[in-house]
Symmetry: C2
Subunit: 470 residues, 2 copies
């Protein structure tokens, strides 16, 4: 069976693009980059185009072999690496990397799924336009993976998730057929929303091979500011004020607690921290279609207003582009500083913005009671209600010991509070293998049943990324 | 069977809310408002809340009776009225009309499906916020219907369709279960996107009973302008310029051809037309978070720039709110003026913005050749690529005769060109009964197959709004 499969794949893709264990080092495909998941692939296949992807799916189906689609292998939930059975075919989309078309008058571009996000951003910029999806892994993640996981990032407040930035898809379905749903249309009410069903389904319903993406005009100026708040409630009030005064020009609103920036200070002391240690620091970004002067006036008006209302007690507006970048660099250094500090328990959660202060109060208190000395690194996209609420071992405790002893209990405590406050246990990272059991326990049974019915309908033999999501 | 069914429904809803033909005048439910579809209902049921909707679905299921959900009965494609078999139960959602909750800090509100759109807009405004969905039927359409059909309207350019304005749904599924997917979350990557699957499915996959909606800050000022363009190409160029200069402040961009405004002039001569007859007139709207002075400065800069580039040759900025309303009133009077002129063949189509000028050139030419004297009333939401490209009988020809002789051929010609230019045969009105056959012929067979698999999975007995969409 397996020999016939390999032969069929080689006939289809050429021998150079069917990589076998033993013959090749497959660890770059088999292990996720955080080294949390390490599986074994039956083989790694590297199709060159949509037709080859469809052929691979058909061959796998004929042989009853499960497929794991993979983009840049930068996922955080083990959704794109094979399990350790050695029976799953890893389908790498990386060779599908053409920018197919840019249509500036329609503000769209069509790209292969394997295009790296940075390449997509750059192609848009070369056409004088903006593709706003932006996240830490942008140098290696692929747009297909971004769509399969409905990636978020730092510009969601204004431009939405990957879902909102996509107008159309090309997908290979479970039976090896190509659905050409590429479309540059902003309105199309002709039947069920297949596009949004595939987006975020993590390769379990079909394999995304290309997408038509929404572009935006490039703002004339981008400007960043930091503001200091005493409480998270003040930060929420500042968000409301900023949204009312700046409208859609507000493109970033990130929050960082004291420990987040303290760890950055400890591990990256060379990075300047303009406001010094404060309970909460907010990073604001304006993207202005009029220019720098207008953006500065807007920021000054907002921050003066916020100072007068007592919502903030200090602020710094970047004077130069370098200062803007330095402010973002502080924010982006938090995950690295955390890693330097040692293993920790990550929670990528979303809540209604209005309930975030209560959630954090309550959850902080419960964690302090049950796990004395545990330290909370709390930061994220407050504008989207998305917190990275991460628990670090007490100082002086070996992080690995703390995790071994308490990770499950910490997760249970945090997720209980998330659910109690109307939140989501996965805001932007997805489910994959990591949260599948958690999802089965916490998602509404009705929703789970609907999801299973859909999975059964579109992949009746269960060959697409089995063991993920549902 | 039928007597037992009626008794079960009466037990559940109370006799006053089970309306039977013969006993009651059901024409307001059985006939669509354009009087294109007139069916006969087995009965009209008017549940009071979600639990009663679930009970009705369960009862109908037990009796094998099909259901047709209906909101404000303002649809344009016959999606919400029963067929003429007398076997379908009409499920009116109008009594589910509570605003359940407004959360200003989260910029969300949760409402029953039967709330009238205007009531939703007003409740948001009372909280100092904006619910931007806006369309001609807003005084009687319901938000549930808006979501079931993914309604569009005049603010889509900035705020999106109904789909983009919804964060969560409550739905009664085909087996009578309630899915509580109400959520005030802007990010939630926990499985398949059930919300977007139900939105736009026109009651064929489940019955929407409530929704959590996205609100926006109220802009401080709204201002409108008219601009005259020689060609549709110039109007597309003006759109690009306006988007680049004004960013998200550009909330309206409507185009009207000469005949559209000539008919308004003929049938509503009391309405002032500031620019006089021009080949193309564009209506632009800015929503400004800074105020009127800023909006005016923005408009003046844009229009001067456009004049210098030769993209427009005249423009008028509204000096007062009354003038703004008068400009919008011109645009909104086109459908009425068309009705006054007589029956016509309507096309609610979408195209990539970049291809609209070619489409209109080509289609105008073909229609002139094949149907000499036919007149094109061409207007719509150019910013979204959405045209209402309507064909009026030649002057002096009886419209009814023209339609009888040519409607099918005109539709075929127009839809052929729509498809050839990468467009959609239903931009914002949906499919319903009206375009079901057209869809079956023109949508990709792969997409149709996927849609049928989903319908089969979620409504295996085919009792939800049968004969619509798929």
């Amino acid at each position: 069976m397996s020999a016939a499969l390999i032969e069929a794949l080689r006939d289809c893709l050429g021998p150079a693009h069917v990589l076998l264990p033993g013959e090749h080092d497959l660890s770059g495909y088999e292990r996720d980059w955080r080294k949390r998941y390490a599986g074994r692939a039956l083989a790694v296949v590297r199709p060159a185009d949509t037709a080859q992807v469809a052929a691979v799916v058909s061959i796998a189906r004929a042989h009853g072999v499960p497929l794991v689609p993979q983009g840049g292998n930068t996922g955080l939930v083990g959704g794109g690496v094979p399990d350790d059975s050695g029976t799953q075919l890893l389908l790498s989309l990386q060779r599908l990397n053409r920018v197919r078309q840019i249509d500036p008058a329609n503000l769209t571009m069509t790209v292969d799924a394997g295009c790296v996000l940075q390449q997509v951003q750059q192609a848009a910029r070369d056409a004088g336009l903006l593709f706003p999806l932006s996240l830490a892994a942008e140098g290696s993640c692929t747009i297909g993976g971004n769509l399969a996981t409905n990636a978020g990032g730092t510009q969601v407040l204004r431009y939405g998730n990957a879902r909102e930035l996509c107008l159309g898809l090309e997908v290979v379905t479970a039976d090896g057929t190509v659905w050409d749903g590429l479309s540059g249309l902003r309105k199309d009410n002709t039947g069920y929303d297949l596009r949004d069903l595939f987006i975020g389904s993590e390769g379990t319903l079909g394999v995304i091979t290309a997408a038509t993406l929404k572009l935006h005009p490039l703002p004339l100026a981008r400007m960043t500011a930091l503001a200091a708040c005493d409480t998270l409630r003040d930060a929420v009030a500042l968000l409301g004020l900023a949204q009312a005064r700046c409208g859609a020009a507000l493109t970033g609103f990130e929050v960082m607690n004291a420990l987040s920036l303290a760890l950055v200070g400890k591990h990256f002391p060379q990075l300047a921290q303009p406001l010094g240690p404060r309970p909460w620091t907010v990073l604001l970004e304006l993207s202005d279609s009029e220019g720098e002067t207008h953006a500065r006036t807007q920021f000054e008006g907002l921050l003066e207003d916020a100072l007068e209302r007592g919502v903030i007690d200090d602020a710094a507006v970047a004077e130069t582009l370098a200062q803007s970048h330095a402010m973002w660099h502080l924010r982006e250094s938090i995950p690295l500083a955390q890693s330097e500090e040692g293993l920790n328990i990550k929670h990528d959660i979303a809540l209604p913005v209005s309930r975030i202060p209560d959630f954090v109060d309550r959850c902080d208190q419960l964690l302090a009671e049950r796990f004395p000395g545990s330290r909370l690194v709390d930061f994220g996209h407050l504008g989207d209600g998305n917190l990275h609420y991460n628990v670090q071992a007490p100082e002086g405790t070996a992080p690995a010991d703390f995790l071994r002893a308490h990770e499950a209990a910490v997760n249970a405590l945090v997720y209980d509070q998330v659910v109690a406050h109307g939140g989501s246990i996965s805001a932007e990272h997805g489910i994959g293998q990591l949260k599948r059991d958690e999802l089965a326990q916490r998602k509404s049974p009705v929703a789970l049943q609907l999801m299973r019915q859909i999975k059964q309908a579109l992949d009746p033999r269960g060959l697409l990324n089995p063991g993920r999501v549902v």
